[in-house]
Amino acid sequence: MHRFVTHTHKGIAALAKIIVVTSGKGGVGKTTTSASISTGLARRGHKTVVIDFDVGLRNLDLIMNCERRVVYDFVNVIQGEASLNQALIRDKRVDTLYILPASQTREKEALTKEGVEAVINELSETFDYIVCDSPAGIEHGAQMALYYADEAIVVTNPEVSSVRDSDRILGILQSKSRRAEMGQDPVKEHLLLTRYNPERVEKGEMLSVGDVEEILAIPLLGVIPESQVVLNASNQGTPVILEGDSDAGQAYEDAVARLLGEEREHRFMTAQKKGFFSRMFKG
């Protein structure tokens, strides 16, 4: 496919689509989501790179099961100690997927705006999608991860503190992203609700999809059900989207499809009525 390279700002080529996976709050599933979304995009034939912005708390390589293949990292590339090709790790399962790991030994301040721009710029020339896995919080690292984004996947758990933090990060996307600063079209926002447990929603122990949508007022990309499969997959270093038989895997697959513009009905949002036997034997 032929595409024109258009230079919008100081040489950032608008070729690849840059997607940030962010949340404000920690532990809600950003890295799990980054791994699955990037894998899903790559499996559909899009050349995809996923960048770990969590300098000092490197996790993505574990989830992607490439921790033993890390030689150079993001900060090495920014500081000119390695080339991008030396640092990029090609995924063993999906050959159109690459991982740019974070540095475990540096500080987040090593990510400079110019350095990140140069790396993203270079990646833009050859990749279709650049997925930026943001660190938790709203400080420098998180701001660097979202700065160049075209789209944002805001990962939220169905509880009030997570919703509040997501709201905060949405505000930062609107005011501190490059698109905001340049007065361009705003960053396209997507809500991804993770760790959703319909039974607990019914008991009133969790916010419902409707509650969260109503508060955050952004379009829903998907609902990932709470599942033991997610934990197991993380421990084994498999992006959960590759667990095609599981609810969570299918939910991520749906989310990727919607991200690419497909219409898909939302699933896994209502409690399964347990039959007599499953209640008897599975508790």
């Binding site: 709203i138 905060r168 505000g171 609107q174």
Partner: protein, 251 residues
């Protein structure tokens, strides 16, 4: 620069202007008590007080004259980014002290006309053109219109006129206006209307879920807003110095 054809030699012109100001009604002065009260007030609505001009009203001052130290008072205010620009009312003694502290002298609120004649005799000709303080609301100021949600941590400020928001104001957000505030969506954050002292300002919203609502410095926090109009379309206005929330469908 092209010069004005009418008066090429003049570099400025004096114009009469009306502005609404916040008045600090001082009952007595003790530096520590003053500082503590000020800090307390500011902590309740930090955005409200930033860089506002303030007039110290001395009509109800009952403390000892010797304790009234304008330099300390101005210092306290400056530390909190509040600019004391003058005093209103007060005895001749107080006003002389205020003048020594380079403050403007404004006539007392109640007996303005009587005081004005006195003012003219005491004030030197250089202060003659100072802006008169009137209760007139700002006229013809265009409203500021916001179409995006105001998110947690964001602040939207309309220094003149009304503020209209066609989206939710989220918990942890703050909206401020010199005039009225309209929120066509839920109001979950803080809304401060009439921040320059317009007591006639109101706050309107489609669902009252606010953390704090303030009109001309009178405020109520979420806890005190629960009884009336909570989570319904409501307007909040100032009635006899008390904030009242009224359902909009019965307005």
């Amino acid at each position: 620069m092209t010069q004005m054809t009418t008066d090429a030699s003049q570099c400025f012109q004096l114009k009469s202007a009306s502005v609404s100001l916040t008045a600090l009604e001082l009952y007595f002065f003790d530096e520590q008590a003053f500082e503590a009260t000020l800090r307390d007030k500011i902590s309740q609505a930090p955005g409200f007080f930033k860089d506002i001009p303030l007039v110290v009203s001395l009509e109800k001052y009952e403390g000892v004259s010797s304790e009234l130290d304008f330099f300390k008072l101005i210092g306290s205010c400056r530390r909190h980014n509040i600019h004391v620009i003058g005093v209103r009312g007060g005895t001749d003694d107080h006003r002389r002290m205020a003048r020594n502290a380079a403050l403007a002298l404004l006539p007392a609120a109640a007996s303005r006309d009587a005081a004005r004649s006195q003012e003219e005799t005491t004030a030197s000709d250089s202060t003659e053109a100072t802006t008169p303080v009137t209760e007139k609301a700002p006229e013809g100021k265009p409203a500021k219109i916001v179409t995006q949600p105001v998110r947690s941590g964001q602040q939207v400020y309309a220094p003149e006129g009304d503020l209209i928001i066609l989206a939710p104001v989220q918990a942890g957000a703050e909206v401020l206006a010199a005039g009225n505030i309209h929120v066509y969506g839920p109001l979950r954050g803080r809304a401060l209307a009439g921040i320059h002292g317009a007591t006639g300002a109101r706050v309107f919203c489609q669902s009252l879920e606010a953390e704090l609502v303030s009109i001309a410095g009178h405020y109520k926090i979420s806890e005190d807003l629960q009884e009336s109009g909570w989570k319904t379309a409501a307007q909040i206005l100032l009635k006899d110095d008390v904030l009242v929330a009224l359902p909009l469908d019965k307005a």
